[in-house]
C-alpha cells in the first residue's frame, strides 16, 4: 500500500519537501500536479522531512499536491526492444514508440570490483591519424573531448561512432540543442546505425533534474548489454551541462560550494559515471567518449579539470583539429607496442619536433633570422599539419606511419630525428 501525502511544506528551486514516514534514501516518488504526473527522487532525509528533486521541475506545483512514494529507486527497462529507440532523461519515449516497462533494473548500481577488471588490449581504429598514431583509442577507455562552444565536437563524436567497430551505441544528450539532437538522429539514420543505437536525450529546454539522470540511464543500459557480451560505445554530450545541473541542485540544497559554485563532490560524481567504462572478463565492454565543453577555453575550469583526473586521457579539439599537445590517450601504451615496431618512436619524435616547430614559429613571428635548423622545422611543421593533422583524413595506421617516415626522411638527417639506429635502418626512406 502506498500512502499518499498531500502537504508540501517547502518548494525551493526544483526541490520540494514533504513530511513523510518510512521513506528510503534515493527512493522515487510520484508528484501529481495540475499539469500531470512527475517523478521525484529523495535527496535528503531529516527526521520526517523528506526532500525530493522533481524531475519535471517545480513550476506549477501546489502545496496541496499529492506525493506518493514508490518504494523503489530510479529504474530502467532492459531488453532488445530498446534498440533504435529514443527516450528522455527519465526514460519516457521521445519517439512515437511505446513506453517500456519490462525487465526493470535500478540505475547507478555498484562499481565493478577492481580485481575483476582486465587490462584493455583492443585498439579501436578510427582512420584519423591524430587518434590512431598519436592517441590510440582503446576498447573500455573513457576519453573526453575537451572543446569550446562552436567547435565541431558533435560531428566528430558522430564520425568516430560511425567508424568504430562496436555492437551497440548509447547516446546520452545533456542540454543538447534541439538541432543537434536532430543532427544525431538523422546522421545515425542515414548511415544505418540507428537500429543498433539507443538515445537518451535531454534537450536544453527540458527540466534540469532530468539532465542528471541521463548518464546513469545510458550507463545502466550499457552495463546490461555489456554483461550480455556486447561491445558498447557510450557517447555523452555534454558533461559540462551535467555538472552545471549538479551545481544547480547543490546550491538549492544549500550545500557549501567548493570551487566556482560546484559542489565538493563533483570529482566523485563524475568518477562514479566515468568509471562505468569497463572490459568484462568473458563478456562485453563499455567504452565512453564524452564531450566536455570548457567555458572560456579554460582547462583549469573545475569541470574539465576534474574530468581530466578521472578519464584515461583527453582529446583537445581546437581550431577544427585535435591538438597534438595536451591530447593524450593514456591507454595507448597497451596497444601501440603491438602494432608496428616504429609506432612509438614515430609518435614521440614527431610530436617533439612539432613542439620545436612551434617555438620556431614564435621566433619567426618576432622577426628573428631563421637558422638552417629553423628552416627545416618550418618545412616539417607545414607538412605535418597538412598531411597528418587534418581531421578529414581517413588513412589506416600503417599508412600514417609510412607518411611520417616520408616526411622525416625528406627533411632531416637521421641523427637529427633522435630515433634509434635500428629503426632508422629499417624505415628511413633514402632520398
Amino acid at each position: 500500500m502506498h500512502k499518499v501525502y498531500n502537504e508540501i511544506i517547502q518548494i525551493s528551486g526544483d526541490v520540494i519537501t514533504v513530511e513523510a514516514k518510512d521513506v528510503g534514501y534515493g527512493e522515487l516518488a510520484e508528484v501529481q500536479t495540475q499539469g500531470g504526473v512527475s517523478l521525484a527522487q529523495v535527496i535528503r532525509l531529516d527526521r520526517d522531512r523528506v526532500s525530493l528533486q522533481v524531475l519535471a521541475g517545480s513550476r506549477g506545483i501546489a502545496t496541496n499536491d499529492k506525493v506518493r512514494f514508490l518504494k523503489h529507486p530510479m529504474q530502467v527497462s532492459f531488453s532488445e526492444n530498446l534498440l533504435g529507440r529514443i527516450f528522455t532523461g527519465s526514460g519516457q519515449p521521445r519517439d512515437n514508440g511505446p513506453a517500456l516497462e519490462e525487465n526493470l533494473s535500478n540505475i547507478g548500481g555498484p562499481s565493478v570490483n577492481p580485481s575483476k577488471r582486465i587490462v584493455p588490449k583492443n585498439m579501436v581504429r578510427t582512420g584519423i591519424p591524430m587518434i590512431d598514431v598519436f592517441n590510440s583509442l582503446v576498447e573500455s577507455q573513457k576519453l573526453p573531448i575537451f572543446s569550446v562552444a562552436g567547435e565541431p565536437y558533435n560531428p566528430l563524436l558522430a564520425r568516430i561512432a560511425m567508424q568504430a567497430e562496436v555492437d551497440l551505441i548509447v547516446l546520452g544528450g545533456m542540454g543538447l540543442k534541439y538541432d543537434d539532437y536532430l543532427f544525431f538522429r538523422d546522421t545515425f539514420d542515414k548511415h544505418g546505425v540507428l537500429p543498433k543505437s539507443i538515445f537518451f536525450i535531454h534537450t536544453a529546454s527540458d527540466p534540469t533534474v532530468e539532465c542528471l539522470l541521463v548518464p546513469d540511464m545510458c550507463l545502466a543500459v550499457a552495463e546490461k548489454f555489456a554483461l550480455d557480451g556486447k561491445k558498447v560505445l557510450v557517447l555523452l554530450t555534454d558533461m559540462t551541462n551535467f555538472a552545471d545541473s549538479l551545481k544547480e541542485i547543490a546550491i538549492t540544497m544549500e550545500q557549501i560550494p567548493s570551487n566556482r559554485g560546484y559542489p565538493g563532490d563533483l570529482y566523485s560524481q563524475l568518477a562514479k559515471r566515468y568509471e562505468k567504462a569497463v572490459d568484462f572478463d568473458d563478456a562485453g565492454s563499455i567504452t565512453v567518449l564524452a564531450v566536455t565543453t570548457m567555458p572560456g577555453d579554460d582547462v583549469t575550469h573545475p569541470v574539465p579539470d576534474n574530468t581530466g583526473y578521472i578519464t584515461e586521457g583527453q582529446l583537445y579539439l581546437k581550431n577544427g583539429h585535435i591538438e597534438p599537445f595536451g591530447s593524450l590517450s593514456r591507454l595507448k601504451q597497451q596497444v601501440n607496442g603491438d602494432t608496428r615496431d616504429d609506432h612509438r618512436a614515430i609518435m614521440d619524435r614527431m610530436i617533439q619536433l612539432y613542439a620545436d616547430f612551434k617555438e620556431t614559429i614564435e621566433k619567426k613571428s618576432m622577426g628573428f633570422q631563421m637558422s638552417e635548423w629553423d628552416d627545416k622545422l618550418l618545412k616539417y611543421g607545414g607538412r605535418f599539419e597538412k598531411e597528418l593533422m587534418d581531421l578529414s583524413l581517413n588513412i589506416p595506421l600503417e599508412g600514417a606511419l609510412d607518411k611520417g617516415w616520408e616526411i622525416l626522411s625528406s627533411i632531416f638527417e637521421p641523427a637529427e630525428t633522435g630515433i634509434k639506429d635500428s629503426l632508422i635502418k629499417k624505415y628511413w626512406k633514402k632520398k
Binding site: K21, D22, G24, Y25, G26, E27, R44, L45, D46, R47, G109, P110, S111, V112, N113, P114, S115, K116, R117, I118, V119, P120, S140, L227, I256, S258, N259, P263, G264, D265, Y267, S268, A271, K272, Y274, E275, V299, T300, P302, D305, N306, G308, E312, Q314, F325, R330, D348, Q352, A355, K363, M366, F368, Q369, S371, E372, W373, A415, E416, G418, K420
Partner: protein
C-alpha cells in the same frame, strides 16, 4: 560486554552522512553498523552533539530509512596485521578484493565484509624465545616464513611495559586463531598471543626505541630523482602535477624499481584501470634482487574513484598502518599514495556535509594538520631488537587546474623532504619523467658527488636563462659560448634527466651506472670545445645525444656498451679544446 548492546536509530540521511540518535553513550571515531534489511553498512562516528551522532558511511546509503537500527561496536576502525598480507589486494577497509570477487562476482556488493587474513591458513611457526624471557612490545616471540621474508610474530604494540614469557608453543604449523604464546605484563595480566593482531589505523605504531634522521639515499633508479632531487630511506616526498603529466606512471616506476624490501601502494580515489595494470603486470615481473615476482613484495590498497568516498579517506591510513607493521620487522617499506588530493577531497566532502566552516577552497581547517600527521608516520626507526626499519612515503598530489598554489599542495610542501614538481610544459614536450629540474627540490643528499652536481645544476639554470634570452634577442644575438652552454643544458636534459620508461634497460638505472654516466656528462659540461659556428655546435651535440640515447639502451659494461662509449669519447676528444 555491555558495549555490544549500545544502539541508536537513524534520524537523517544526507549523501554518505547519516545522523543517528543514540540511547546510552558513544565513542568518537568508533565503528558503527547501520542495519538495513539484510545489509549491515559499516560507518564511523565523526561528530557527537547531545544525543545526536553523525556517521560517515563507508557504503552507498541508498535505501537507508529514518528509524533504521544502528549498532555501535565500541572499536575504532582497525586493520588486521599478520602473515598473509604480502601480495594481497585490499579495499580501503582491508576487504580482500580477489576473495570478494570469488564470492560475489563482478560487482562490489554492499555491506559485505571479509576477514583480511585467512584465519584457517596454517603457517610454520618457529619460536625464538624461551619461557622466562623478558620482552617489550614489538619484540618477536618467533617467526613464520612469508614469501621471501621472515615474518616476525611480535608482542602486541599496545602493551606499554616489559612482559615475561609464560608459555610458547613448539615449532610447528599453526593457524591465525591459535595461541602461540602467553605473556604476563607488569600488572600481572596475562596476554594470549596469536599470530594476528588488530591495530586502529589512525594511531601510529610506536613500538621502537627512537627515530633516526633519514640520511641514506633510497635508490629509485630514476636518474633525475636519484641525482637531482633524491629521496632518503625513511624520508618523504610529494609529486604534484596536473593531469597527464605522468604522476601515476612515475609512481608505478618507483614501485617497480625502488631498492626497498616491501612496497605498499595506496590507490586512493584514482582510476581503477591503473590498479588493474599493477595487478596484472606485477605477478609477471621479476624483481632482479630477489628473483621472485614483484607481487611477492607488494601490498595494494585500492579504493578507486567510484568506490565509496569515506573508505577512500581511510585507505591511506590502512596503507600506512600496514607499512608500519612491516617496518617493525626491520624492513624498509615504501608507501606510495596516489593521490593524496583525493583523500583530502574526501575530507572536504564530509566536512561540507557536517556544515563545518570551510577554509580555503572549501577544504576543512584541519586539512594541514591531517596531512602533516600522515607524513609524520614516515621515518627510520631503531627497533628494540637492534634492527633498523623504515617507512618512506611518497604522495602524488593532483592540484586543481595544475596550480601548485592550492591548499593540498601547499600543506604537503611544508612537511615533506623532497618536492618533485611535474610540469605540463615538459609533459607536452614529451620530456619524461616530467619532473621540473629547476623548480623541484630535495633536502636529502644524493650519492652523486656534490661538487659535480653543482656545475650540472648550474648549467641547467644557465641553459634555461639563455633559452629565455634567445626568445628575445634571437639566436643571432647570442654569443657562441652562451649558445654552447644552452646546448649543454639541453644535452644533459635529453640524455640523462629524461628516461625512456618503455625501454627495458633505460627505464631503470642502477646507482653505479648513474655515477659512471654522470661523470662523463659532468666532464662534457665542464669542457670547452673548439667550435666555430652555431650550426656546427648544434650538429655536434645532436650527434652526441644520438650516441648517448643508443648507449642508454645497452646493458651496462656489455661489449656494445663499451664500443659506443669509445665512440663517444672519440667524438668529445675531436672537438675538445686543450
Amino acid at each position: 560486554m555491555a558495549d555490544h548492546l549500545r544502539k541508536g536509530k537513524v534520524i537523517g540521511v544526507n549523501g554518505n552522512m547519516v545522523s543517528v540518535e543514540f540511547e546510552t553513550n558513544v565513542i568518537q571515531n568508533e565503528v558503527a553498523y547501520i542495519v538495513q534489511d539484510k545489509d549491515r553498512l559499516k560507518s564511523e562516528v565523526i561528530r557527537i552533539r547531545g544525543r545526536r551522532a553523525e556517521l560517515q558511511v563507508y557504503e552507498d546509503t541508498d535505501g537507508v530509512r529514518v528509524g533504521d537500527d544502528v549498532e555501535f561496536s565500541g572499536e575504532l576502525l582497525s586493520v588486521e596485521l599478520g602473515p598473509g598480507l604480502l601480495g594481497q589486494v585490499f579495499d580501503g577497509l582491508q576487504n580482500p578484493l580477489p576473495r570478494l570477487a570469488e564470492a560475489h562476482g563482478f560487482f562490489l556488493k554492499r555491506g559485505v565484509y571479509l576477514n583480511a587474513l585467512e584465519e584457517e591458513q596454517k603457517w610454520e611457526f618457529t619460536p625464538t624465545v624461551n619461557v622466562g624471557d623478558k620482552l617489550r612490545a614489538g619484540m618477536r616471540v618467533g617467526f613464520v616464513p612469508e614469501k621471501i621474508f621472515e615474518h616476525n610474530i611480535m608482542v602486541p604494540f599496545n602493551i606499554a611495559k616489559e612482559v615475561e614469557v609464560l608459555e610458547v608453543v613448539e615449532k610447528g604449523k599453526y593457524d591465525l586463531k591459535q595461541v602461540i604464546a602467553k605473556v604476563k605484563d607488569a600488572n600481572g595480566k596475562t596476554h594470549m598471543l596469536t599470530m594476528k593482531v588488530t591495530w586502529p589505523v589512525k594511531v601510529p605504531i610506536k613500538a621502537y626505541i627512537k627515530k633516526i634522521k633519514p640520511e641514506k639515499p633510497l635508490v629509485t633508479k630514476i636518474r633525475i630523482i636519484d641525482t637531482l632531487v633524491p629521496v632518503a630511506i625513511g624520508g618523504t616526498f610529494c609529486t604534484p602535477g596536473p593531469f597527464g603529466a605522468g604522476k601515476t606512471v612515475l609512481q608505478h616506476l618507483l614501485s617497480r624499481h625502488a631498492d626497498v624490501d616491501i612496497v605498499v601502494i595506496a590507490a586512493c580515489g584514482e582510476r581503477a584501470g591503473e590498479v588493474v595494470e599493477v595487478l596484472k603486470t606485477f605477478p609477471e615481473l621479476i624483481d632482479p634482487k630477489t628473483k621472485k615476482t614483484l607481487m611477492d613484495r607488494t601490498i595494494i590498497i585500492c579504493n578507486t574513484s567510484s568506490m565509496p568516498v569515506a573508505a577512500r579517506e581511510s585507505s591511506v591510513y590502512t596503507a600506512v598502518t600496514i607499512a608500519e607493521y612491516y617496518r617493525q620487522m626491520g624492513l624498509n617499506v615504501f608507501l606510495l599514495a596516489d593521490s593524496t588530493s583525493r583523500w583530502a577531497q574526501a575530507m572536504r566532502e564530509m566536512s561540507g556535509r557536517l556544515e563545518e566552516i570551510p577554509g580555503e577552497e572549501a577544504f576543512p581547517a584541519y586539512l594541514e594538520s591531517r596531512i602533516a600527521s600522515f607524513y609524520e608516520r614516515a621515518g627510520i626507526v631503531q627497533l628494540r631488537d637492534g634492527k633498523v626499519g623504515s617507512v618512506t612515503i611518497g604522495g602524488a598530489v593532483s592540484p586543481a587546474g595544475g596550480n601548485f598554489e592550492e591548499p593540498v599542495t601547499q600543506s604537503t610542501l611544508k612537511v615533506v623532504g623532497a618536492f618533485h614538481g611535474l610540469s605540463r610544459d615538459r609533459a607536452n614536450a614529451r620530456r619524461y619523467p616530467a619532473i621540473d629540474p629547476l623548480q623541484s627540490w630535495s633536502k636529502y643528499e644524493s650519492f652523486i658527488d656534490a661538487e659535480a652536481l653543482k656545475s650540472a645544476t648550474a648549467i641547467l639554470k644557465r641553459s634555461d636563462e639563455i633559452n629565455q634570452m634567445m626568445k628575445v634577442v634571437g639566436e643571432d644575438g647570442t654569443g657562441i659560448e652562451d649558445f654552447i652552454d644552452y646546448l649543454k643544458g639541453e644535452f644533459f636534459d635529453a640524455v640523462y634527466l629524461q628516461q625512456n620508461a618503455f625501454d627495458k634497460i633505460d627505464e631503470a638505472t642502477i646507482a653505479e651506472r648513474q655515477t659512471y654516466v654522470f661523470n662523463l656528462i659532468s666532464d662534457i659540461i665542464k669542457s670547452k670545445f673548439q667550435i666555430e659556428s652555431k650550426d656546427e655546435a648544434r650538429k655536434f651535440f645532436l650527434e652526441l645525444r644520438q650516441k648517448f640515447i643508443n648507449w642508454n639502451t645497452l646493458e651496462f659494461q656489455a661489449d656494445d656498451f663499451k664500443k659506443i662509449e669509445q665512440d663517444i669519447l672519440e667524438q668529445i676528444k675531436s672537438k675538445k679544446a686543450v
